[in-house]
Point group: C2
Chain length 334, copies 2
DNA sequence: CGCTTTCATGTAAACGTTTACATTCCCGTA
DNA sequence: TACGGGAATGTAAACGTTTACATGAAAGCG
């Protein structure tokens, strides 16, 4: 059985209050007493129970990042940024997956009460109003990639529409007029806004506007591959593809190669995100770059501030801009 | 302030014990009473404090995965497998980073007492004996990619040596005799064993054995690129490269391209891991495949069993085999 | 020498929840 | 009608730690 503070107190012949003060440097303890207590604690491998401690102090020095998924380069980069910034603020970062469904988000939220000081939630697939009804009232929350009205918590979103618009405009500037889009997951905020940006750019640039050019995908490489099969079957065939994220662009490039179609000379392609591997592909991928890792870092920064203000601060909504990154897959050179 | 069980009890005109029984379905409660309590709990947005609950029940239904880093496709895949298996067992999975240093591992371990029921630790860079001295005695732990003597906890390792051996043997079967290796991080168990496998295959296959062919890397794409600069400067120039992981192989391929060297006709290359993007590269990457996601899943399975047995079971050491996956980058066709 | 202040430590309540045990009431059976 | 058993609920201790307040002793100052 794991030793408790009582065992330390007994062996050190002091009260548990003295042990607590000695180990946490809170309040006066005679130096000789403190040294004796610390030595005994180390000898019997005592570590405080953080549940008991947080019950008592009403603090955990921990925050949690709840993501739709925990894998893939995009989420990886979000976690990287969040982890680094949490470390700088001496907060312990935990990461948890909501598996992209509302029930799991609620379950994750319910399991966090008393365990963390604040929560970052990325949840582009969940309706923000139904999400808000699940949010604990006093626990600071920062929402990522959700559409909320701003009274209840801070949020950071990506200007998806503008990023998609830039990328598609660039394809148009290459002379493309028949551009397909591989869409993201249905009911996903990012996907919806990227579609809007695509439509706006195509409309303004005199490109073909057609429902058949808007091909289903779900942000995975496999769905990018499958979309290409459909795109190649369209008549007349598109000359460029905008994939709503880089993973689908990667899958699309692979499928084009398998169909003997040369990128970018026979089909131009562009993505969205700029995940790290995008620059290593051949051809390297033109894309809308989001500072993904900075998204995670800003989320943590915002949350840590909210925790310090006991969630009483004026909530704010930030928007991250996307920047066009021109590489080879649109026809430009690296 | 967040409502507690006391507020629910007061509004429902029952004791806190009745509320606890009603909400957790433990013990008899009249149906009308239970319905009234649940309605009130929902109205005032009551969620139990999990710290208090775990203090009382001595259980958390949570496990944690402590990784050297939380980003990159490899760790991503480990997390994917772990998360799926944890969900199947109705355990909540948390993920935390040790930032690949002993101090942070100890800090992570100390912050988990009373918060989780068990811990998976992947720590290839830390000497296992010093790690073991930090392990809590009664908390079940599963170690990944560490070298331990097996009395204290379960472990799952990769047969790195054998995997590297297979890959390098394959390069030798293509006629290569001057094969460079891009090594992993110093003092890393995986890196060390892959180097041993490389040496054994080269030695048995009559290849060149030379310290200059063993080039430093640290598992990142950038270090793969930098290693290529050194390798191209060797005289006579190697005809093949074995990168100790796929990320460095990706970086190496990119650098070879930039130097105008065609893979595989002018330089063959192979990696280790088989991260998901490896199949989308051009040329696609020959590699030693580890069922990375299965590593995570097995770790969780082993830990959940250890928790159930209250850590009193006979500890076991499992070894995951690597399988050669032949693609284009060695000169074979897909 | 006496009084005041400060140091060092102990006591006990509190944090929020669970649950063992006790109590009361109701129902069924002889 | 009486007794026994079971349902329903309340009481209070426990989980492990923190910390406000109390107490005693020692040191310093007038």
């Amino acid at each position: 059985m794991k030793p408790t503070i009582k065992e330390v107190a007994k062996k050190a012949a002091v009260s548990i209050a003295t042990v607590s003060r000695a180990l946490s440097n809170s309040g006066l303890v005679a130096e000789a007493t403190r040294d004796r207590i610390r030595q005994i604690a180390e000898e019997i491998h005592y570590t405080p129970n953080v549940s008991a401690r947080s019950l008592s102090t009403n603090r955990t020095d921990t925050i949690v990042l709840v993501l739709p998924d925990l894998f893939g380069e995009f989420f990886s980069e979000v976690i990287r940024g969040a982890d680094q910034r949490a470390q700088q603020h001496n907060y312990h970062l935990l990461v948890s997956s909501s598996h992209n469904n509302k029930g799991d988000i609620e379950s994750a939220l319910h399991s966090m009460r008393g365990r963390v000081d604040g929560i970052v939630i990325m949840s582009p697939n969940i309706d923000a109003h139904t999400l808000e009804s699940s949010l604990p009232k006093s626990l600071p929350v920062v929402l990522l990639n959700c559409s909320v009205d701003g009274e209840r918590c801070d949020s950071i979103n990506i200007d998806d529409s503008q990023g998609a618009y830039q990328v598609v405009r660039h394809l148009i500037s290459h002379g493309h007029r028949r551009i397909a889009i591989i869409k993201g997951t249905p009911n996903n905020l990012d996907a919806e806004e990227r579609l809007l940006g695509y439509r706006k750019a195509v409309s303004e640039g005199g490109g073909d506007i057609s429902e058949e050019l808007e091909v289903d995908g779900n942000f995975t490489e496999l769905s990018g591959q499958e979309a290409v099969t459909k795109i190649l079957g369209l008549n007349p065939r598109p000359t460029a593809i905008f994939a709503s994220n880089d993973s689908m662009a990667i899958g699309a490039i692979s499928a084009l190669r398998k169909n003997g179609i040369q990128v970018p000379t026979e089909m131009a392609i562009a993505g969205f995100d700029d995940i790290p591997v995008a620059e290593y592909l051949r051809p390297s991928l033109t894309t809308a770059r989001i500072a993904i890792s900075e998204l995670g870092a800003m989320a943590v920064e915002t949350l840590v501030n909210a925790v310090k203000e006991r969630n009483a601060h004026t909530k704010k909504q930030l928007v991250l801009q996307a920047n066009l990154v021109v590489r080879e897959s649109c026809g430009c050179s690296d």
